[in-house]
C-alpha cells in the first residue's frame, strides 16, 4: 500500500471562499486549565477536515467554539463571514447555519423522530409545519430510516439515533456541519451505517469538520487531516501525506498508537 487512491466519496479539492476562519483561539477553563493555546484553522466551502488527537488535546473544545457552545478568551472565529462575538444575535445566526452532531446523539427523548427534526425549523426558521414535515421525511429517507419517523428515540438503535441526529441537523439547512466524535458511542457494527451517511454528505459538497478516530473515513473522505495535541495543532496535511509520511514526532507517536 503506497499511495492511497482517491475514492469516489472525496469531492474535488475545494477552492471556494473560507467558511471557517479561526485565528489564534485561546481558551482557559475557570479552573485554570489551558485547553486551547492559540489554534489556527481555515476551512473552505465544501471542504472536509478531520481533526484527530489524543483525548484531552482540545479537539472537541475547539470545534465547540465554532458554534459558541464553548467560549474562548483570545483570538477570533469567523463563520461564513460572520464574526463570532458576544452579541447574542450573532451567535443565534451562526448556530442556525452550523449544524452539530454529538457523540451522545442528544436527541430529544420526549419527541418523536419526526418532531425532533421539525422542532428547530418551525421554531427558529418560522417555516410552515407541513412543508418542514415533507422535507424531514425526505431527509429521513436519505439517511435510511423513513419508516421510524413516528417512533421515539429510545426505541431506536444507536446507529439509527445518530442518523436521526444528522438528519435533524440537516433539516435546518446548515452551511457547515460539525461532528464531535459521532461514532465513538456506537457499537462497532453500527459505525458503518453512520459513516456511510457522512460520506454521502461529503460527496454532496457539505462543509464538514469532523472530530473522529475513524482512520478509514479520514483516508477516504477528508481533504485535510489535522492533529491536535495539548491545545495546539501539531500537524495539518492531506490524508495521503498524513498517514504515510507524517512530519512531526508527535504525529508519528499518535499514529503508532492507534494503528
Amino acid at each position: 500500500m503506497t499511495t492511497p487512491s482517491i475514492s469516489s466519496a472525496q469531492a474535488p479539492a475545494a477552492t471556494g471562499p473560507w467558511m471557517i476562519e479561526a485565528i489564534g483561539v485561546q481558551k482557559r477553563y475557570p479552573n485554570g486549565f489551558h485547553a486551547l493555546r492559540g489554534v489556527d484553522l481555515r476551512v473552505r466551502r465544501g471542504e472536509v477536515v478531520v481533526i484527530m488527537g489524543p483525548s484531552g488535546s482540545g479537539k472537541s473544545t475547539f470545534i465547540r467554539t465554532f458554534n459558541a457552545l464553548e467560549e474562548f478568551q483570545e483570538g477570533s472565529i469567523t463563520i461564513d463571514g460572520t464574526a463570532l462575538s458576544n452579541d447574542l444575535r450573532n451567535i443565534d445566526l451562526i448556530r442556525c447555519e452550523t449544524g452539530m452532531v454529538f457523540q451522545q446523539f442528544n436527541l430529544f427523548p420526549h419527541l418523536t423522530v419526526l418532531q425532533n427534526l421539525c422542532l428547530a425549523p418551525v421554531l427558529v426558521r418560522k417555516r410552515r409545519r407541513s412543508e418542514v414535515e415533507r422535507q424531514a421525511t425526505a431527509l429521513l429517507e436519505r439517511v435510511g430510516i423513513a419508516e421510524q419517523a413516528s417512533k421515539y428515540p429510545g426505541q431506536l438503535s444507536g446507529g439509527q439515533q445518530q442518523r436521526v441526529a444528522i438528519a435533524r441537523s440537516l433539516c435546518m439547512e446548515p452551511r457547515i456541519l460539525l461532528f464531535d466524535e459521532p461514532t465513538s458511542a456506537l457499537d462497532p457494527e453500527m459505525v458503518g451505517e453512520v459513516l456511510e451517511v457522512m460520506k454521502g454528505l461529503a460527496a454532496d459538497g457539505m462543509t464538514m469538520v469532523v472530530v473522529t478516530h475513524e482512520m478509514g473515513f479520514a483516508r477516504e473522505v477528508a481533504h485535510r487531516v489535522v492533529l491536535m495535541s495539548e491545545g495546539r495543532i501539531v500537524e495539518e496535511a492531506p490524508p495521503s501525506t498524513f498517514f504515510t509520511n507524517p512530519q512531526h514526532e508527535r504525529s508519528r507517536q499518535f499514529l503508532a498508537q492507534i494503528l
Binding site: 457552545l69 443565534d92 452550523t98 413516528s150 435533524r168
Partner: protein, 403 residues
C-alpha cells in the same frame, strides 16, 4: 386434597414452612379480629346520626341554603366535564393507549360510581329529592362518558383540541359560582366551609404553587445573582419554618406584603400562605428534575438555533417536569392534608367543621364516627391525586409507548 391451584398458591405463599404458617395464622387472626371489631362497632355501636344530621355542614359549611343551587350546578357541570374528558380519552386512541372503550379499570370505576350514587345519599339519610339529584348527576356523568366514548371519534379534530380548555374555564366559572358576582348574590369566603373550603383551598394552592415553584426552580439555577439569591432565600426561608407558624404569620403580615386587594380576608390570606409554602417544595422537586436533564439536551437545542427560552420550554422543561412529577404530586398530597391546619387559625374547613360538630352537646362523644369519616374523605381525595399522577406519568413516558 389440595388440588385447586388457588389453594396451592395459598399454601405456597402463606404456609411454606412451619414458621411461615404460624406467622400467617397469627397475622390472619389479628386482621380478622380487628376487622370484626371494626365492623361490629360500625354497624352496632356507632351512631352515624352525627354524620347524617350534619352532612350539609360537612359538605359546604354555612353556605347559605338559598344559594346552594349554585353548588349543585357546579357539581353537575363537573360531572359533565369529567364524563366528556373520560370518554374522549378512551375514544381517541393514542400511542400509549389500548384503544379499548371500556378497559377493566373503567368498568370497576363504573361499578364504584353506581354503588356510591345509590348507597351514599341513602346512607347519609338525605331526602328523596336530594337523593334523586345525586342519581341524576351520576347518570349524567355516565351517559356523557358513554356517548363521548362512542361518538367522540367523529368530532372534528379542531373541536377536540378545545376540550382540555373546559377545565380552566370551569375552574374560573366555579369560583364565580361559589363566590358570587356576575349578577349572583355575593357569598363571602367566611361562609364557605367543610369539604368545599378544603377542596377550594387545596386546588387553589396546587394550581398557583406549581407555576410559582417552576419559576423559583429556574430562578435558583439562573445566572443573575439577584434572581438566584432571591429564590434561594425564599425557598430556604419557607422550608425552614413549620406551616402553622407561617399561617399565623400570614394572618398578620400578608396584608402588608401583598398589593392591596389581593389578600383581603382571612381565607384568601391562608390560601396564599399555602401557595407560597407549597411553591417552595415544588421548586425543590422541579430543581431536581432540571438537574437530571443531561446538559447535552440544552446544547443540542442551542446548537439548532433555539433561543434560551425556546430550549427551556420545548426541550428541558418537558423532560424535567416529567421527572419531577411524582415528587410534586407527593407535595400536593401533603398540601391537601395540611389544609387541616387551617382549622387552627379558625377556618371551618373539614377538620374545623368536625370540631364544631363534636363540640355540639347533641353529639358529645361521637368523635370516632367523625374522624373516621374525615379520614375516608381525605383518603379518597389523596388516592385520586395519586392515581391521576401515575396515569400522567405513564402517558408522558415515551419509552413505554408501543409505536
Amino acid at each position: 386434597m389440595l388440588s385447586h391451584p388457588a389453594l396451592k398458591a395459598i399454601r405456597r405463599e402463606l404456609f411454606a414452612s412451619r414458621t411461615d404458617g404460624l406467622i400467617s395464622l397469627g397475622l390472619l387472626a389479628l386482621i380478622g379480629a380487628s376487622l370484626l371489631g371494626l365492623l361490629r362497632w360500625a354497624f352496632l355501636q356507632a351512631q352515624w346520626v352525627v354524620i347524617q344530621a350534619n352532612s350539609t355542614l360537612f359538605a359546604v359549611g354555612r353556605y347559605p341554603l338559598d344559594q346552594q343551587w349554585r353548588l349543585w350546578l357546579l357539581v353537575a357541570l363537573l360531572a359533565m366535564a369529567s364524563g366528556l374528558s373520560w370518554g374522549l380519552l378512551r375514544a381517541i386512541p393514542r400511542a400509549d393507549r389500548s384503544g379499548v372503550l371500556w378497559p377493566l379499570n373503567d368498568r370497576i370505576a363504573l361499578a364504584l360510581l353506581a354503588f356510591l350514587a345509590s348507597w351514599a345519599p341513602a346512607a347519609l339519610g338525605l331526602s328523596v329529592p336530594l337523593q334523586a339529584r345525586w342519581w341524576l348527576i351520576t347518570a349524567l356523568l355516565l351517559a356523557i362518558r358513554w356517548s363521548a366514548g362512542r361518538w367522540g371519534r367523529r368530532l372534528p379534530p379542531r373541536l377536540l383540541k378545545l376540550v382540555p380548555l373546559i377545565w380552566p374555564l370551569l375552574y374560573l366559572l366555579g369560583m364565580a359560582l361559589i363566590s358570587g358576582g356576575l349578577g349572583l348574590v355575593r357569598v363571602p369566603p367566611s361562609e364557605w366551609g367543610g369539604l368545599l373550603l378544603t377542596v377550594l383551598m387545596a386546588s387553589f394552592a396546587i394550581l398557583a404553587s406549581f407555576p410559582l415553584g417552576v419559576l423559583m426552580a429556574l430562578g435558583r439555577r439562573s445566572e443573575l445573582p439577584l434572581l438566584r439569591w432571591g429564590s434561594v432565600v425564599y425557598i430556604e426561608f419557607v422550608r425552614g419554618a413549620p406551616l402553622i407558624t407561617l399561617l399565623f404569620l400570614g394572618q398578620n403580615i400578608l396584608g402588608f406584603m401583598l398589593p392591596g386587594g389581593l389578600a383581603p380576608d382571612r381565607v384568601w390570606r391562608a390560601a396564599w400562605v399555602l401557595t407560597f409554602f407549597c411553591g417552595a417544595y415544588v421548586a425543590e422537586a422541579v430543581r431536581a428534575g432540571l438537574a437530571s436533564v443531561p446538559a447535552g439536551q440544552q446544547e443540542a437545542a442551542r446548537s439548532l438555533g433555539l433561543t434560551v427560552p425556546q430550549a427551556l420550554q420545548q426541550v428541558v422543561l418537558p423532560q424535567a417536569l416529567r421527572i419531577a412529577l411524582p415528587a410534586t404530586v407527593g407535595q400536593f398530597i401533603s398540601l391537601l392534608q395540611d389544609t387541616t391546619l387551617l382549622s387552627l387559625i379558625g377556618l371551618l374547613e373539614l377538620l374545623g367543621t368536625a370540631r364544631t360538630v363534636m363540640a355540639n352537646p347533641d353529639f358529645l362523644g361521637l368523635t370516632a364516627e367523625v374522624y373516621l369519616t374525615l379520614a375516608v374523605l381525605f383518603w379518597c381525595c389523596c388516592a385520586a391525586l395519586g392515581l391521576g399522577s401515575r396515569a400522567l406519568e405513564r402517558r408522558l413516558d415515551p419509552t413505554h409507548s408501543p409505536a
